[in-house]
Symmetry: C2
Subunit: 258 residues, 2 copies
């Protein structure tokens, strides 16, 4: 499994990914899932991948190849972030066309999904989720984060803390907490964690983080978080147990008698 | 969807459930999913249900009917909590036998699962998860909570706060937070919330809670929690961005050249 997330706030973007890949619990490996295709001063482009590894690797490969042979279109020529998202979608479709019939025969999951975050020239920063079918949605001020892969464990912390006005550094901390919550609850998501922070208008990735398993910051963060949650739970007002007798509603057996 | 959880700590037990049932997002109703079959001074028995509503209702019905006609076995005659769990499992199997072929024909999900928490006579309190197949597992000191239904959103808070030595009242607060996190992130889990707290050795349920949507305690709890999480995230030590240049590893296109 994989967990990647992107957060779009007024001050910029955060994208983060774990690095665990598994084919069953007995074959677990580590692969990069966050790719930087930025051209400093011109465009910031970060891509995260989730799903069938052979498909996502093949798509990233074609993105790189198109750059190398200076194909049109490619990641560095397209004029808007949306057109970049559609172009990635078309590469996903091409790979699904090529491989899906063979994977389907053996009931192998061929689904994949991508996050694309960045900024192209004068445009505002943007964040897209590109589906296995090649279509895409974008993050908005009302829904400032997007997730792919094993998304459920890490969603509550984002739901509780993320707003479009959240400071960028706090968004990065919440992203780490969201990934750590997922790693804590699901063994198939694991370190190293990679994360980038992008400041709106900078057209350059200036903040990158790579956290290995057992990194002191990760351990410290986890301890701080667990203590804070326990403290916050203890500080909740006492429960007023309000319901002293069992429900008065007829039971199923009562109903049968009527 | 449904979310129910049980927590077993040294001081006793907490069981809690939401009340939403849906057949698609356009048919959402409210049903009780937590049932009290206790006989004060003799045995405490709480059951929570999840999954196909016609199956879980039918199983609860047969449990009630067996009590009414004084069948052997029934919930009040069995000598141990484990034997009660196996008896519930056998009723699940009977209902699956009766209905599953008809449900399967129309690809209707026939799965269900049950939580059983309580204490029978001199035994220690126990907590069981009974599967759709009729078999069961029990909570232990190492894994002091069990969940059924939509379990992922509410698991991180339990992973971070629950130990076997956690005070009972704190376990109840964490259970509410776990359900509230799930409701916040997934519309198909919803109020009213029902919860019971059982003190080890009391052989009687003395604390019951019913929280309707919009209950002031629920709203206050949610606000307190969101503020606490945001505060705790802000108080995290600043991230030391440690990774100033893109990875040195060869890209896929480089590899092709070799």
């Amino acid at each position: 499994m994989t967990y990647c997330l992107g957060i779009l706030v007024r001050q910029g973007l955060v994208l983060a990914a774990d690095s665990r890949t598994n084919a069953g619990v007995d074959y677990i490996s580590s692969y990069p899932k966050l790719f930087d295709f930025s051209v400093p001063q011109e465009r910031a482009l970060i891509i995260c991948t989730s799903g069938n590894l052979s498909i996502t690797q093949a798509v990233v490969y074609t993105l790189e190849r198109d750059l190398k042979v200076d194909a049109t279109p490619n990641l560095h020529k397209l004029p808007t972030l949306y057109s970049v998202a559609r172009y990635i979608g078309s590469q996903i479709r091409a790979m699904q066309d090529a491989d899906r019939p063979w994977l389907e025969k053996d009931h192998i999951d061929y689904q994949c999904s991508f996050l694309l975050g960045g900024q192209v020239g004068e445009e505002s920063p943007g964040l897209f989720l590109i589906y296995s079918q090649g279509n895409c949605i974008r993050a908005t001020a009302e829904t400032p984060f997007l997730q792919i892969g094993e998304t459920k464990y890490g969603k509550p912390i984002l739901d509780r803390t993320m707003r479009y006005d959240t400071p960028l550094e706090l968004a990065a901390k919440s992203a780490l907490l969201s990934i750590d919550s997922t790693m804590r609850s699901n063994l198939s998501v694991g370190p190293p964690i990679t994360m980038v922070l992008y400041e709106q208008g900078s057209l350059e990735i200036r903040h990158r983080l790579l956290l290995q398993a057992g990194d002191p910051y990760l351990m410290g963060m986890r301890k701080h978080w667990e203590l804070s949650l326990r403290e916050a739970a203890s500080r909740m007002p006492d429960i007023e147990w309000n319901y002293e007798s069992p429900p008065e509603a007829p039971t199923y057996s009562d109903l049968e008698e009527q």
